[in-house]
């Protein structure tokens, strides 16, 4: 059996796990809600992924990332999600890149040079405005499922303006719009525009831009709005929710390769 390398990204909302082989080919991807037992969720993801990949041996090396990176008992090493998103996206793009990752509880802007080296990064302020948590709150306020939002937002090009930084105040603004009979589609699109505006405020975005994260995976309309706001193409990898886990797996492979002979 060829060696398998594992990357696990325990985010605020979801745990993503990727297995790759020595050539960097993805063998399996698994995503589950992070829940309250991070270690158990990570182990469950590994069992499922190993089954999917037909891997009968434990990974040769595992790197954990995300907020729960300290909780993965089978991890060899841990890295920040900044590093892992960078590694995963550069593997896919092979060029200098600005990455926008929209996660459940935070947003990141990561700048890589043409060798994939981290040049600069920004995270959102403590406030969750513009993150997945914001979108979940808006869905709750509107009595909608999160999965319904994207098609609603795509159905109009006339968003309402949600001016508040604060998620709670934005919900109050939505109440006001509802009272005035504004269509739900316009409110949802307004929320998406608000998410994009919070990201654009974080850092200048120049050159090639790639968007990743669970919010991007489930809401392609946000990427359309982002591209329009930036007036440039925004690429999205095939599995945007998994770039952090992929980068962790690639880092695991690199760590294994760097080990002195005999340690393996």
């Amino acid at each position: 059996m060829n060696k398998v390398f594992c990357g696990v990204d325990i985010g605020a909302s979801a745990t993503k796990l990727v297995l790759i082989d020595a050539a960097g080919q993805v063998l399996a991807r698994v995503v589950r809600p992070s829940g309250v037992d991070y270690a158990g969720t990570a182990r469950h993801c590994l069992e499922t992924a190993s089954e999917d990949a037909g891997a009968d041996a434990a990974p040769a090396c595992t790197v954990a990332t995300g907020y729960g990176r300290d909780n993965v008992d089978f991890a060899t090493e841990k890295r920040t999600e900044i590093h892992c998103h960078g590694a995963g996206c550069f593997h896919l793009a092979q060029r200098a890149l600005s990455i926008i990752d929209i996660g459940g509880q935070d947003n990141k802007v990561i700048h890589l040079d043409d060798r994939g080296r981290l040049q600069e990064f920004k995270m959102n302020r403590k406030c969750a405005a513009g993150t997945g948590a914001f979108i979940e709150e808006i869905a709750l306020r509107l009595g909608l499922g999160v999965a319904e939002l994207d098609s609603l937002a795509a159905g109009t090009d006339d968003p309402v303006s949600l001016g508040s930084f604060c998620t709670v105040f934005a919900k109050t603004e939505i109440l006001s719009h509802l009272r005035q009979g504004v269509p739900v589609e316009a409110i949802v699109r307004g929320a998406f525009v608000s998410v994009v505006d919070r990201i654009i405020e974080m850092d200048p975005l120049e050159g090639a831009v790639m968007a990743t994260g669970g919010v991007v995976a489930h809401n392609p309309t946000i990427v359309e709005i982002l591209a329009a706001r930036l007036d440039r193409d925004v690429s999205v990898p095939e599995s945007p929710q998994f770039t952090g886990a992929l980068g962790a797996a690639l880092t695991a492979r690199g760590l294994f390769d760097d080990q002195p002979e005999g340690d393996t």
Binding site: Y67, H83, R117, L118, F121, M123, K126
Partner: protein, 410 residues
């Protein structure tokens, strides 16, 4: 602290001296045999001491409230009285402490509370909040409130600036004479200022030892060991303490003993400490081979102009040449020179929500400095005392990502 943190042996002496300092204040508050002045952290302490006042610094109490995390229970009490959660959390912690009758000084030094003042003396060089803070106690206790209003955002400091500030210092004298019952004595002031100057030189020597690689001291150590330079400057005990501390740190250098084992990276901390997370931050950096070697904060208690011939000129210049009251251009030059002097690999800017004057990342300075120096940085959002404004996970990820970035580039 954990194994990653190297204990400084002089800490025992510092605790003893601080204990004696507070005991003297407590006794005076009980017997009223000596007069007590409250003074802002960079207020005219030397002038007050020249009249024989015992000097108490509420900002020191603010830091103790933060580091003990008692602030979390006290700030809401001040918020409820109309002191906004958006203003200085030293102020809201301290006023909350007064309102609820709780202070770490009780456990540490057996004090019922801070010593009640006979006069309140501020300098707005730190912020306007200190004036409002002392104003609360003026209304509570009906004691005189006097102070110095320092201009802000200064580039070059002119003769006009200094003359105005000297005049303001001298204008305090009649009130201080009346409250203390002691006539002003220029020679006594010279003696106190000279002592304060000697303290400043020793404190500077302590901080400069961190230019050595590996550094014998961290920023986190510095925030604790600056205590005597803040509350005892002008007293011989402060000089005594720093002579002992300098000797210990020089011995560390001679022994090649590092404050952080295996020091690989050297960081600068710009802004206030997150007092309630001081130990966590110290351990986080130490565990990753990163020594935070220097800071604006600890260096803000170096007052070299106190060495000039005229004590009023010395005080006026010392308390106006401070980083905190200077222009963005000055601050950038200062930070650039600190990066060079301490061979800094990365900078942490702490954007303290309730302390705008100590948050130097709100007008593009980190970006400008990074372009000039190529030293990477992170900005963490937090606060000096109000941990409701701090996100542990986001700060940790940013610290670790900066360390990863620097390690990968080597």
């Amino acid at each position: 602290m954990g194994d990653a943190i190297k204990k400084i042996q002089a800490t025992g002496l510092m605790r003893k001296l601080m204990g004696a300092y507070f005991a003297e204040l407590d006794q005076a508050a009980t017997t009223r045999e000596r007069k007590i002045a409250w003074c802002t952290s960079v207020g005219p302490a030397e002038l007050l001491r020249s009249f024989g006042f015992l000097v108490y610094f509420p900002e020191n109490h603010g830091a103790v409230l933060g580091s003990s995390r008692l602030a979390q229970e006290l700030i809401p009490a001040a918020n409820a009285r109309g002191y906004s959660p958006d203003i200085c959390s030293y102020l809201t912690s301290d006023i909350g402490s007064y309102l609820k009758g709780q202070t770490p000084l009780t456990k540490a030094f057996g004090m019922a509370g801070p010593p009640r003042p006979d006069v309140l003396v501020y300098n707005t060089n730190q912020c306007r909040d200190v004036q409002d803070w002392f104003g609360f106690y003026q209304r509570e206790w009906d004691v005189p409130l006097i102070g110095i209003d320092t201009p802000r955002s200064l580039g070059d400091i002119t003769r006009d600036h200094l003359d105005g500030l000297i005049a303001q210092h001298k204008a305090l004298i009649p009130v201080l004479e009346e409250v203390s019952g002691v006539p002003f004595d220029l020679e006594r002031l010279r003696e106190v200022v000279a002592s304060s100057y000697r303290c400043t030189l020793l404190w500077k020597q302590v901080l400069k030892l961190a230019t050595h690689r590996p550094s014998p001291i961290t920023f986190f150590d510095g925030t604790i060991h600056m205590g005597p330079a803040v509350v005892m400057r002008g007293l011989p005990q402060a000089e005594e303490y720093y002579e002992v501390l300098v000797a210990e740190l020089e011995q560390r250098i001679a022994d090649q003993a590092a404050a952080v084992d295996g020091e690989r990276l050297r960081f600068y901390w710009e802004g206030m400490p997150v007092w309630g997370k001081l130990r966590d931050h110290a351990e986080l950096f130490a565990n990753q081979g990163t020594c935070v070697v220097a800071s604006t904060y600890c260096n803000s208690w170096i007052f070299e102009p106190l060495g000039c011939d005229d004590p009023f000129e010395g005080m006026a210049r010392s308390y106006t040449e401070l980083f905190i009251v200077r222009s963005e251009e000055y601050k950038q030059r200062y930070l650039k020179s600190m990066c060079d002097d301490y061979a800094v690999d990365g900078i942490v800017y702490h954007d303290a929500k309730t302390c705008p004057n100590n948050s130097n990342c709100r007008y593009g300075l980190p970006q400008r400095l990074a372009r000039e120096t190529d030293v990477p940085y992170v900005i963490i959002n937090g606060d000096l005392n109000d941990l409701r404004l701090y996100s542990e996970e986001q700060a940790r990820t940013q610290f670790e990502a900066l360390i990863e970035q620097l390690q990968a580039s080597r």
